[in-house]
Symmetry: C2
Subunit: 207 residues, 2 copies
Amino acid sequence: MIPFPAINRLCALYRLLCDLQESGVERISSADLGKKLGVGAHNIRKDIAFLGVSSSSASGYDIKGLKQLISEKFEFNTEKKACIVGLGRLGTAIMERKDLCGGEFHIIAGFDSNINRLETISSSISLYPAYSITEVVRRLRIELAIIAVPACVAQDVADKLIDGGIKGILNFAPVIVKLDNKEIFIKNMDISGELRVLSAQIKNSIR
Amino acid sequence: MIPFPAINRLCALYRLLCDLQESGVERISSADLGKKLGVGAHNIRKDIAFLGVSSSSASGYDIKGLKQLISEKFEFNTEKKACIVGLGRLGTAIMERKDLCGGEFHIIAGFDSNINRLETISSSISLYPAYSITEVVRRLRIELAIIAVPACVAQDVADKLIDGGIKGILNFAPVIVKLDNKEIFIKNMDISGELRVLSAQIKNSIR
DNA sequence: TATTGCCTGTGAAATAATTCACAAAAATAT
DNA sequence: ATATTTTTGTGAATTATTTCACAGGCAATA
Ligand SMILES: NC(=O)c1ccc[n+]([C@@H]2O[C@H](COP(=O)([O-])OP(=O)(O)OC[C@H]3O[C@@H](n4cnc5c(N)ncnc54)[C@H](O)[C@@H]3O)[C@@H](O)[C@H]2O)c1
Ligand SMILES: NC(=O)c1ccc[n+]([C@@H]2O[C@H](COP(=O)([O-])OP(=O)(O)OC[C@H]3O[C@@H](n4cnc5c(N)ncnc54)[C@H](O)[C@@H]3O)[C@@H](O)[C@H]2O)c1
């Protein structure tokens, strides 16, 4: 069981490796990876050790190989189905991102409670009314969801998603969504909340 | 110096207290706060202890007083000036949020490199071309910035913001922005990156 | 005004995460 | 072929964070 901070860094590392590979780099040392990620080299090596291999070399890591290692550990090679609930300003902006509609993730459904709104959105993604969330998520075996509804209905939406068997949730509404099932993961992305954390850090750092 | 995890929880607590106050609650125990935030009661009490007071009671915390305490510690009562760089889909969606345009935060400037685009956006917020970021941030003493530009220019934008004297950055571009100054804080909000972390956690939790 | 029960504050203990230090392996230089 | 340099892998030490345990205060009750 890999500790959460290490999972986080390994995911960042994975993205970095993809970028490096695209720009033609083939090998890189833990020291250089650390510099690019703003993390100590020891930390990088420890994280990689969690993947459970050992193939020492004096010329750093083979980028292709390391990428594959992470990818296998976390199953990044199999496409994950996702959906968006709440097709307002934020929801539609996210829905239209190319990087979320092919490759690693695939947004295959959008939900909104406002039926008129559904009709005005033109999209290649299938759209459904909010009352069918549980049924559609279960039928299409959707694993991940992005919540972009007003705060007051976020918990209700999350409950429906969980009933449908969702595994992970990215929540943009500024509320703490309660989950009792420890096998379901949530990440809150509260923008004004994060601005508040930043300003608290700024104040805390003075003196 | 309050540890970062505690700052994070205190900010979440602050929001919760605001909500509770609005719904008319006056006092609440650490146990109930913990339940609502998904955190142990001990943890809540320890976090509050970092604020540096002690006023024991057998009927929980006074919500108004506790809010004020946090607010004073982190200076939440003084309005913070913020700006958005990159007025594409995401940037404009964020710009239009009511909760970011008054009260605690105030978005007072928007920037984009595409001059034509600036002209088509109708907004009550002042808009400027991207080359003036440094000058405007310095002149208006803007403390916080939200970056919503393509990944390839995010570092460049961050550098300009830092030159202007920015203190905190919320970065939506999927890259690690490098800061050498430890007095500047950054929070990355990479949506597809977070989806990846969620799917890694899901995989990691199995077996 | 005693008594009882509830709840906080906090030092101590336990747990988690990071950093260190160095042996061993691979590449490179001599 | 041998020495030197580079870089990994990992147990141990350190540091950070969370959890625990309980003394002591406050409020409610009689
Ligand atoms: N839209 C989303 O929900 C979403 C999801 C995931 C990630 N992101 C990330 O957020 C960022 C913005 O996404 P978007 O969908 O709004 O993209 P977009 O293309 O709609 O908008 C980008 C805007 O940035 C402006 N810009 C380009 N270079 C600039 C510069 N140097 N200075 C100032 N402005 C500049 C462009 O003119 C454009 O208006 C991207 O990095 C994207 O990967 C967005
Ligand atoms: N737009 C931003 O950049 C931004 C910034 C900070 C926070 N947020 C948060 O993100 C959420 C969405 O923001 P937005 O700007 O897109 O709001 P919005 O009002 O534009 O969109 C909300 C959408 O959710 C739909 N909806 C309402 N109840 C629903 C339900 N029960 N089931 C399904 N859909 C439902 C509405 O019909 C609407 O289309 C809000 O919670 C907001 O606080 C957004």
